[in-house]
């Protein structure tokens, strides 16, 4: 998959009338109600469109609409609610710590050590298992020490040429949302009970560092200042 080599029907469409159709992202990348026009999703679908019966990993909760959307297009979908799994993991660790006898080897461990332990059971897929990963905004909710380890694993399971869609808030998110695909350029934001607090606002250079193993990236900034990043491995 290659951004420059792929044919873009939109970019070559002639302008009609006074309002020229401009190539590139749809200008109205702004939420309408709970719906969000997502240029990132549109681009993501375009990038994985070359792979017949490709495999997509959704790191959010499982939704009928998202699964149906991809299955109807011939993709195989895997879901793993990573944030929920992380929360459950932390709760179990906390419980283990509390139940450990005083003086036992129950010292609190660093986030990076926790991350390594977490990844012993999470994201257990063979190398190059997926052609696309929908990470939504979950990286904002992980400790900055944990995110790089997650990214390393995600990069491992992503096929070369595969794409990842991630979102980054420019300020701490006011509400915790989940995302589901409505159509090829629309995602629905569903307010959900907070299972994790917003951990970190990533700067652009941090994002680039996080995706250092990827060969190219493209970012769309919405009027709500949410940055949709599309990363090509």
């Amino acid at each position: 998959m290659n951004w420059s080599a792929k044919h873009r029907p939109e970019a070559t469409r002639p302008a009609t009338g006074a309002a020229a159709v401009r190539p590139g992202p749809t200008p109205s990348a702004v939420p309408s109600g709970n719906l969000r026009i997502s240029n990132g999703l549109k681009e993501f679908l375009w990038l994985i469109s070359d792979v017949p019966h490709g495999r997509v990993l959704d790191l959010g909760p499982v939704w009928q609409s998202t699964v149906s959307f991809f299955v109807d297009k011939g993709y195989r979908v895997s879901t793993e609610d990573l944030l929920r799994t992380w929360k459950d993991f932390l709760a179990a660790e906390e419980e283990g710590f509390r139940s450990a006898p005083v003086g036992a080897d129950a010292l609190r461990i660093s986030p990076s050590v926790l991350a390594d332990k977490f990844l012993e059971n999470a994201l257990q897929y063979p190398e190059r298992s997926f052609h696309g990963v929908l990470a939504w905004d979950l990286l904002d909710y992980f400790d900055p020490e944990v995110a790089p380890r997650l990214m390393a694993r995600l990069s491992h399971v992503l096929h070369p040429g595969g794409a990842m869609l991630a979102m980054f808030h420019s300020r701490p998110a006011e509400r915790f949302h989940r995302y589901r695909v409505v159509d090829s350029q629309t995602v629905e934001l569903l307010a959900a009970s907070t299972i994790a607090v917003h951990s970190h606002v990533f700067q652009n250079r941090e994002i680039l560092g996080l995706f250092g193993e990827f060969r190219s990236s493209k970012t769309f900034v919405g009027r709500d200042q949410v940055r949709e990043g599309l990363f090509l491995k």
Partner: protein
């Protein structure tokens, strides 16, 4: 400019099949009619034979809460699990329902699979699979049609397969379709 998007909880229709015996040697209660999901009506006590004039429902066996079964379950009776099952469940032409209290650590193979409890294992449904809001599933799902209620938790792979064509008339198949399960186009139905 981009691909067009396109987007069913299986209603259950009793099959006109003879009532079968419970599928396991452990005590399995016939499920009370009031607790049988959807439209499946259980026979309170299994009749010895079914006459042609009487409306017939497929027997639903129940593994009640508190029961624990280790091993392989097979047969041709619908099964409702509200207890624990470890092993393997192979009920090819039937419906398997895991109730809210059900805990299953087994691969499940059935015509219809409906989950409201906890399942760790791979699911293979020849007709449809449905995950209720309280379902917790860890494993891969192989089915022609899938229904997922909001709140369901699935950790694993969803893959579609062509619907089995050898069994049942098209009218029967149509009758089982409902709103929230999406038929999968043939183009999407391809396995690994």
């Amino acid at each position: 400019m981009w691909r067009k998007p396109s987007e069913g909880k299986p209603s259950s229709e009793p099959d006109n099949l003879p009532v079968s015996a419970p599928i396991a040697s452990q005590p399995i209660d016939p499920i009370p009619a009031s607790r049988v999901p959807s439209q499946v009506q259980a026979a309170p006590s299994a009749p010895a034979a079914v006459t042609a004039a009487a409306p017939v429902a497929r027997a639903t066996s129940k593994i009640s809460s508190g029961l624990k079964i280790n091993g392989e379950l097979s047969g041709d009776s619908d099964l409702y699990i509200d207890g624990e099952v470890h092993g393997k469940i192979r009920l090819g032409n039937t419906r398997v329902t895991v109730g809210p209290n059900g805990r299953v650590q087994a691969d499940i193979e059935a015509r219809e699979i409906m989950i409201d409890g906890n399942v760790e294992g791979n699911l293979k449904a020849s007709e449809s699979a449905h995950f209720g809001a309280s379902s917790r599933v860890s494993g891969s799902v192989l089915t022609p049609r899938i229904g997922i209620d909001d709140g369901a938790r699935l950790r694993g792979k969803v893959e579609t397969t062509p619907k089995a064509t050898a069994r049942g008339s098209s009218a029967t198949a149509k009758g089982r379709e409902s709103a929230d399960l999406q038929p999968v186009p043939a183009s999407a139905a391809e396995g690994e």
